[in-house]
Structure formats: C-alpha cells, structure tokens
C-alpha cells in the first residue's frame, strides 16, 4: 500500500513535471527551431532542427500566409494577407503569447531585416511597401508605386531595401529616409531574378533569364559592374556564406553555374537537376545541394563542380534551409506533407517529419547564416 502510494505520488510528480516542461517550453533558440505555416490548419509548426522532430504546433485564429522569425525580438511575425494584419508570437515566454497587429495593407510579402528589429511589408496589389519597427509600433517608411514579382533584399545594415521590377527591367533601392534610386538593367519582361548580395554587402547579383547573364551591380554607387554569361534561363543566384561563389541555377536546362566573386567569371557549369529551383550551400561551404522543381536533389562539391550524390524527393519542394552549423539541410515537400532532412557533411538523406498538411509553406529560421558584419 505504501509502495503503491509512493508509486502514485511519483507518477503524479512525473505527470506534473512533464506538464511543467510542456507549459514552460519556449522556442527562442534561433539556431534550433524553424517555423512552417499552414493556412488550411491555421497553424505554425515548430520544428526542432536538433532533434529533427515536430516540437510544437501553434494554433492561430486566422489563416497564416507567411511566417518569418527574429532572433533579436525573439518573436514570430505571421502574415495574414486576406485579413490585412500580422500576428506577433512572443517566443521567449512559455505561453507563446500572440499579439494582433493590424495593418493598412495586405501583407503579400513579409521580409525580416538582417538587424532583426524591422520588417518590410509589401502589398503587391496596391504597390505599397512599408517598413515597421515593432518595438516602437512605428512605421519607419511607407512608399507607393512599388512593383515586383520577387523578394526584397535588405542591405547588411538593414537601412536600404533593394528590389527588381521585371515589368520595366529596373533595379531599385530605397532607404529608410525615403531616398529612392532606380537604374535600368534590362529590357521589360526580361526575366530578372530576385537579388542576392555579396557577403560584404557591396555588390548585388541579379540573373536575367532572357539573355542568360548575371548582372553585377555596385551597391554603393549603383553602377553596373559587369554581366557574367551563365546557362539558359538563370534564376536567382545563391551566395556561399564564405563569399567565394555565387551559384546560379539555370532553369532552362539542368545545370548550375558557379561564379567566382573574385574574378567575376563563371568557373564551371555542371549538370545538376532538371529545372533547378534553388541551391543551398552547406558543410563549411564545401558542398551545395541543388534542388529541382520535380524533387531531384544533387549534391555538388563546390570547389570542383563534381556531383557527389543524388536523391529524389516525394514531390515538388519549397526552398530549403541549412542550419547555422552548416550541417543539416531541411526541405519542405508540400505534396507529401513532409519535411526532409539531409546531412550536408556526408551528403546522406536522414529522417523526415511526415504528416504535415499539404499546403505547408517555406521554413523560416532565425539564425542560418554564418557571417558576422
């Protein structure tokens, strides 16, 4: 009887402790947790990248259209495009407190600045771009007549935002003091990609699909430096974190081109995957994963361009993320409701998280780069 009582007490304590640990779980470790939105389930899935498991599900009252995360604010910023609002989730508290943040625009795009305290919000239909500082609940910048089909790119200090307008072939910038610049980069509808910048923030790289080149633009003077010929219909360049290369997926074929940032020349073009969508460098920038729209994955030795391994995903992927130790690649696959993990060091497929809704979006991770400015 005594043993039974103690056993019951122990069980109660274990239950209590487990409830406490659940109640006091928080997800403010910016290198460990990634977040994925699903509109149909009105949820944000919290992914533990260390354990490669689903750590928690955050239920929302409104369908999310995007999610981004700030390590500085220890907060999630969730966009509700149809509802013209954001929800901020405080990751530093066990309650994961949600705060409504009404907007005067529909957040088609929500982009976190590298400083982590301001967010660019773009209403694609209205052509309005705003920059908000959440701590002060202040609109730092509001500008009209912005047109773009692709993502925005912040300067390294977060004070300037860059974008391309493919409809008129322009490359544009605006700073927080509303100084706006624009240069013509290409003919209208030439297929300009989103912008990637060099790690020191001085040079932008933009692909032009129609002519098969990558433009290099000096961001301090706004002067085009050169055009680098690559493959057919190149997409957005992806920079290695060590700054040596820009890796360009050539969507018109099945190749990847590496551009040396030193010489501004293409170093090699390698057969990779059909219609490469994105490229994730990893393992100390020695290996890159090229991922195609049909789910092909090819690992490439960045220095010599050789293919080291190939895999097939169970469906069309979304942009992958690499952990800050450059070791793990995670790729969402909405078609199969899964998040697939790869070991970048050994180029092997690891486990998957399955059972996610089939409308999951891209994964957001607060700390994924490995360069301090």
């Amino acid at each position: 009887m005594t043993i039974k009582t103690i056993g019951g007490l122990a069980a109660s304590l274990i239950l209590f402790v487990s409830m406490m640990s659940e109640a006091f779980a928080n997800f403010d470790d910016g290198a460990r947790y990634a977040f994925i939105a699903s509109a149909s389930s009105k949820s944000i899935f919290v992914i533990d990248l260390q354990e490669k498991s689903l750590a928690h599900t955050i239920s929302l009252s409104k369908a999310p259209s995007s999610v981004t995360v700030s390590d500085r604010l220890q907060a999630l910023v969730i966009g509700h495009e149809a509802d013209r609002s954001l929800t901020l989730v405080d990751l530093s508290t066990s309650e994961l407190r949600q705060i409504g943040y009404p907007l005067d625009l529909s957040p088609s795009t929500v982009e976190m600045s590298p400083v982590g305290e301001t967010v660019a919000i773009f209403d694609k239909e209205a052509g309005v771009l705003e920059v908000h500082a959440f701590r002060r609940r202040e609109v730092l910048l509001s500008v009209n007549n912005v047109r773009t089909e692709s993502e925005f790119t912040f300067s390294t200090d977060g004070a300037t935002i860059f974008w391309v307008d493919d409809s008129n072939g322009s490359f544009n910038a605006i700073d927080l003091w509303a100084n706006r610049k624009s240069i013509k980069l290409a003919q209208p509808n030439a297929g300009l990609s989103a912008i990637s910048r060099s790690i020191d923030g001085t040079v932008a790289f933009v692909s032009e699909a129609s002519t098969g080149v990558v433009h290099m633009i000096d961001l301090s003077t706004f002067v085009p430096l050169r055009k680098v010929p690559v493959g057919a219909r190149p997409g957005r360049p992806w920079g290695t974190a060590d700054g040596r290369y820009m890796l360009v997926p050539n969507n018109g074929g099945r190749t990847l081109t590496a551009i040396s940032t030193l010489s501004g020349e293409s170093i090699y073009t390698v057969a990779a995957v059909d219609h490469p969508l994105f490229i994730n460098p990893g393992w100390l920038d020695s290996i890159a994963a090229a991922v195609g729209e049909s789910g092909q994955v090819a690992f490439i030795d960045i220095d010599d361009g050789s293919v080291t391994a190939r895999y097939e995903l169970d469906g069309a992927p979304l942009d992958g993320i690499v952990t800050s130790d450059s070791r793990t690649l995670a790729i969402p696959v909405p078609e199969s409701g899964s998040l697939v993990f790869f070991d970048m060091r050994h180029q092997t497929r690891m486990s998957s998280i399955v059972g996610l809704p089939h409308d999951i979006g891209p994964a957001a991770l607060a700390i994924s780069n490995n360069l301090c400015h």
């Binding site: 290198a31 003077t221 974190a241 030795d301 800050s324 301090c372």
Partner: protein, 194 residues
C-alpha cells in the same frame, strides 16, 4: 534600430573589398572533411608566439572575431565562458581561443583585457596580416576589414565567419558549431571527447 547611410565609396573601393575577401580564400581544400586544417602561428595576448601545437593535450574551442564586434563575438564567447564554468574541473582539458582578425585595433593588451572578461583561461591571439591570412585560410574562415573612408562615414566595416571550431588535443578538426549554438549543446559535444 541602429542604421546609418551607406558611405559613398567608389566602385574601386567596393571591388577592393571583394579583393580583400577573396585574397584570403583563393585556395580551399577540395574535400568536405578536409576543409579545416587548423594550423596557425600567431601572437598571444602576452605577446608570446604560439602555434596550434602550443596547446597540445587540450581540446580547443576556436573562434575568429574582433573586440569591436557588437553581437556575434561577445554572444559566442559568452556561451564558451558558460561551457567552461559548467565543465568544472574538466575545464582544464579545454582551451578556449579567440583569434582577432582586426589586427590594427586589437592589440595584445586590448585582447588580454577582452578575453579575461569572459574567462581567465581564454587566450586571445592576433598577428601580422600574413599570419592572420594563413590562419584564416587554414580554418576555411572568411574575413575582411574595410577601413572607413572618412571619420564621418562611421566605423570600419568588418566581417568574418562566425563558426566555433572544436579541435582535438593535437589541433586537428573535430567539429563545428554554428552561430547561436547554446552552451549545453557545445558542452555535450565536448564531453564526447573527454
């Protein structure tokens, strides 16, 4: 938010920054497991010449940065300090090493004060440009220091890789931690090698 306008540096200056960067990383090993050799010959914060062999017998946690760094360097070194305190007596088996890539600003004397603020056993290293370039190349680390064009344009622009390297008792590469790795993760990995 701290924000400043970009200084109107010329295209030549911008390309020079690229050259500073790229001069360090022209040759890099071809195989993934060989990307970090971990060799160095530098000056410690007591002005003693040291190499990777000077710490033989101890595991090492090696981080490249600079003392003026506002966030990544102090955050990472703070986690390293937490690890050292948590290790207790086992801390004697681990040598934390901070290599400053800001050689013009970070004198050995300044480094001595800086590393001591984190942990008494932490060593601060610096050296000539040639020595730092060689060390960075050996660790596959990228860095660049672009002096401010004038005093009104703000501080120097400095950037560097933010990996924390775990090296074995002879200075060979064991593992790497990304920025943001917590002390308990680092400690757990370290203890696998005790």
């Amino acid at each position: 938010m701290h924000a400043r306008k970009n200084s109107p540096i010329s295209a030549i200056a911008a390309m020079r920054a690229q050259l500073i960067l790229c001069a360090l990383i022209l040759c890099s090993p071809a195989h993934a497991d060989d990307v970090v050799a971990g060799d160095f010959e530098l000056l410690d914060h007591r002005r003693q010449s040291v190499t990777e062999r000077s710490f033989d017998g101890k595991l090492r946690l090696v981080f490249f940065g600079f003392t003026r760094c506002p966030d990544v360097c102090p955050t990472t070194l703070f986690e390293v300090a937490l690890v050292m305190r948590s290790l207790g007596d086992d801390a004697s088996q681990v040598q934390p090493i901070f290599i400053s890539i800001d050689r013009e600003f970070d004198t050995p004397e300044l480094l001595a004060t800086y590393v001591a603020a984190f942990h008494p056993s932490m060593v601060g290293l610096t050296g000539s440009k040639r020595q730092l370039d060689a060390a960075a190349k050996s660790f596959n680390v990228t860095y660049g220091v672009e002096p401010a064009s004038d005093s009104a344009s703000g501080p120097d622009s400095v950037f560097h890789s933010s990996y924390l390297f775990l090296m074995d008792r002879q200075g060979g590469f064991l593992d790497v931690f990304g920025y943001g790795a917590k002390a308990e993760v680092i400690e757990a990995r370290l203890r696998e090698y005790f």
